[in-house]
Amino acid sequence: MATRQTASLARLMRAPAIVLLLIWMLVPLGMTLYYSFLNYNLLNPTNTSWAGWFNYQYFYTDPAFWESIWNTLVLTLGVLFITVAGGILIAMLIDKPIFGQGIVRILVISPFFVMPPVAALIWKNMIMHPSYGVFADIAKFFGAAPIDWFAQFPLFSIIVIVAWQWLPFATLILLTSLQSLDGEQMEAAEMDGAPALSRFIYLTLPHMARAITVVILIQTIFLLGVYAEILVTTNGGPGFASTNLTYLIYRAARLNFDIGGAAAGGIIAVVLANIVAIFLMRAVGKNLD
């Protein structure tokens, strides 16, 4: 069907998108790579020189780097655990025959549409604030001392906020997957007397495996880049207690004006993200044909 004419037309139609993305990918990344080998500080831009691997060494030996890597891991895994486990439970609950299913669904997915700075500020000021927050009100009601969440448990507080934002996403995707589960098979298992737990382990969970994989991989991509939630709540502190890799690089670039160091950190972030990306691409690629 594809004549030579339509084939060249197709090439012409594809070209702008491909060229744009090629430029978008290669130019900034190439520049980051180049800067990562320079001693280049915006406060002293005339004194720029070749640095070799110094920026990488500097980044690598900085204790804040390891702390931020650790925080990135804890944040990502913590949010993944809450959202996947919570998402499975909530998806199964919504999938039950209930009154007002449509409204329940809408309420549950809503947090996903709240922009990160708003989500973080609502939680910071109205829910977790040590004097005016709802948690403090609850603590006072029971006669307990309110907790200063962001001072005492900064990383945990951010995990709670980010998990709240991503729980709807996990729930929605797992629910979509759940709804395509073969009802007859489930019924047969039930009639054969399989208990609810084994039905869940041997039927529901394998059926959702693919959706769970997709949720984990896509969320990981976004969770590695958590930024605004940290900016408006703890600013990465106290110390570096809630600084993730993204935030550390942001600090190097925008607060310390260290272009070389931030670029080296950026390259490290690319390497980490790529490890995740390879798995995601495989999972998605299988679905193409």
Binding site: L21, I94, F113, A262, V276
Partner: protein, 274 residues
């Protein structure tokens, strides 16, 4: 699944589901309620019944010129989405209907650009914006947001276009339809729903983008995400005003989002879960 469920069981599940849903929705609800309180009420302890005053909404507009970031958000999200559609529709159309051996590779490569962490290119983009005068301009951010979302737009359109049966196009060509006929009578009616869903989801994503908007704007081009983030400082907004600003920032997108639940799954999983 024609399984008899006892009425009691259904009521039990309903109560459980509603409790979970209300707990999850609570922070949003509480922000809306607080936006209708006076500042004194807002910090006077837990209270679900506001005095229904709109003074905070008025104050946000008069003190902080709320309308400006709001319009910036509209311009940036709609503008970047339309730009992305202009580039992506032909590309997705070509890949769906004239696939070559490399089409799959191209799609996977496009997806891979989405995996690049934003912070990895913070330094070059920041410097480029500084040196070319794009810093704090709407045009600079619109182009950037377009590039960020382009892979998702191409992918979503591709998965929609692929569902249009190719035989229809072939039949039309056999009947001597010109390219123009193809576009007007086949492409448009069959592709519009997919294009509309893609548009909706991408407006949402662009509206909520909060890394680049914070990095690359100060006052002039700052959309709501950057505007609200600036209230994190101690001298920022008081509770009720912050709630009013937040409610107005999320309300339009919340409503759009409710309409796009299905597309959300499809768009964000790159068609891997439908």
């Amino acid at each position: 699944m024609a399984r008899a469920v006892s009425r009691n069981q259904k009521i039990g599940w309903t109560i459980a589901a509603w409790i979970v849903a209300l707990v999850i929705f609570f922070p949003i609800l509480y922000a809306i309620i607080t936006s209708l309180k006076t500042e004194q009420e807002a910090i006077a302890g837990f209270n679900l019944i506001p005095s229904f005053t709109f003074e905070s909404y008025q104050a946000v507009q008069s003190q902080n010129d709320y309308f400006k970031p709001f319009m910036n958000s509209v311009i940036l999200s709609v503008g970047s989405t339309i730009l992305a559609l202009i580039v992506a529709i032909p590309a997705a159309w070509a890949m769906a209907f004239s696939p070559t051996k490399r089409t799959k590779d191209i799609l996977m490569w496009m997806l891979s650009t989405k995996m690049m962490p934003a912070v990895a290119v913070l330094v070059p983009i920041y410097l480029i914006f500084l040196r070319t005068g794009l810093m704090d301009t709407r045009i600079g951010l619109t182009i950037l947001l377009m590039l960020i979302n382009l892979p998702i737009v191409v992918w979503m359109l591709y998965t929609y276009f692929r569902e249009i049966p190719g035989e229809i196009l072939e039949a039309a060509r056999m009947d001597g339809a010109t390219l123009r006929d193809e576009i007007v009578h086949i492409l448009t009616p069959m592709a519009v729903p997919g294009i509309a869903s893609t548009l909706l989801l991408n407006v949402i994503l662009a509206w909520n983008e909060a890394f680049w908007t914070i990095q690359l704007t100060t006052t002039n081009a700052a959309p709501l995400s950057a505007f609200i983030a600036s209230f994190s400082s101690p001298q920022g907004l008081f509770w009720a005003k912050l709630s009013a600003a937040s409610t107005m920032a999320i309300a339009p997108i919340l409503i759009l989002g409710w309409f796009s639940q299905k597309q959300l799954v499809r768009g964000l999983t790159f068609g891997a879960v439908k």
